[in-house]
Symmetry: C2
Subunit: 201 residues, 2 copies
């Protein structure tokens, strides 16, 4: 379970997409949200867009691994698909904020790898946030405040990278994933391999 | 501090050389040994070849980070050069066995990243050990026994990789190193960067 968090505008979504395109063993966890789709967003791919009522039901039934309210909208991670992916041996990528990360950390502990992506500078972040033409100015201002809040939680993550160059950040995340997969504590079945190896010596 | 351990013949030395050739930020820790040089080995590069008396003096003066006796010969890691490299901000690579790894772990704790390299099969290991024409048969037999002993300590390492393909193992070690460098706990100076970033928002 790989969590990517960052302030909006630091490049997290692009990095997620690139990772999913290059790594065949990881699948994105699709969040549910009560906010309306933005132009170009596809239901079931970018988010599952649901009503506030449906969200409340899922939450009350314990079907959400984490959830949060951001700007009057609810966001959450449905538990079922994640459990299915993990039990079939796949890795799962989460594009969630610090609140969600804290909630999943409490539930999943050491199984989780948490990566925080920082923008290279305040001006770079501001530029990227302003470029999203579809958002009204007050939403941009709100995002800047939220960015500062999000950044204040960087020290709750296992890995931190500064996204100066997309290519290099890409490689960094792939390296983290590759390294984590080589951790002894994740290498189920290796005991049998070593036993077999030693019986042949 | 990156430790690479493996039974003799699993490809550790080749992997070390490749890592040193491709990663400009890591330097090999050169061990001292009382065994005579093998053909082609260079004093001060492969090992520092010293007398048993000199070894005893270094050990008694506390100048060795770890030491071990293997087949009547002594091996050790001099502390001075390692401290110099670390304080100049460089990473240090150690090509040592499980005994040395245990000793350095006790002294260095979380600063150490321990990687164990396993051979893909018993027959592959046997083949590689027999190919070293310069060693007499009883030394090869002794190496096989030592290999089995070394392998039994695989679970004391942070990462474990099966060296099936040199290229892929190479990439695996580079990924581990890159990922470890991105760990929050190693990113000194990042607090200042984040403070500066937030002051601009």
């Amino acid at each position: 379970m790989l969590v990517l968090s960052s302030p909006s505008g630091a490049g997290k979504t692009t990095l997620s997409r690139r990772l999913l395109a290059t790594d065949p063993d990881i699948t994105m966890s699709v969040s549910v949200t009560t906010r309306p789709p933005r132009p170009g967003e596809i239901d079931g791919k970018d988010y599952r867009f649901i009503s506030t009522e449906e969200f409340g039901l899922m939450r009350n039934r314990g079907e959400l691994l984490e959830w949060a309210k951001v700007f009057d909208n609810y966001y959450g991670t449905p538990l079922g698909p994640v459990e299915q992916l993990l039990s079939s041996g796949r890795d799962v990528l989460f594009d969630i904020d610090w609140q969600g990360t804290q909630q999943i950390s409490e539930k999943m502990g050491a199984d989780l790898v948490r990566v925080f992506v920082l923008p290279p500078s305040a001006s770079a972040l501001e530029q990227r946030l302003t470029k999203r033409a579809q958002d009204p100015p007050d939403v941009v201002a709100g995002r800047m405040a939220k960015a500062s809040d999000e950044i204040s939680h960087w020290a709750e993550y296992d890995y931190v990278l500064v996204n100066e160059d997309l290519e290099r950040s890409d490689e960094a995340i792939s390296s983290i994933l590759r390294a984590e997969r080589l951790k002894r504590t994740r290498r189920f079945g290796l005991s049998d391999f070593v036993r077999h190896l030693q019986s042949g010596l």
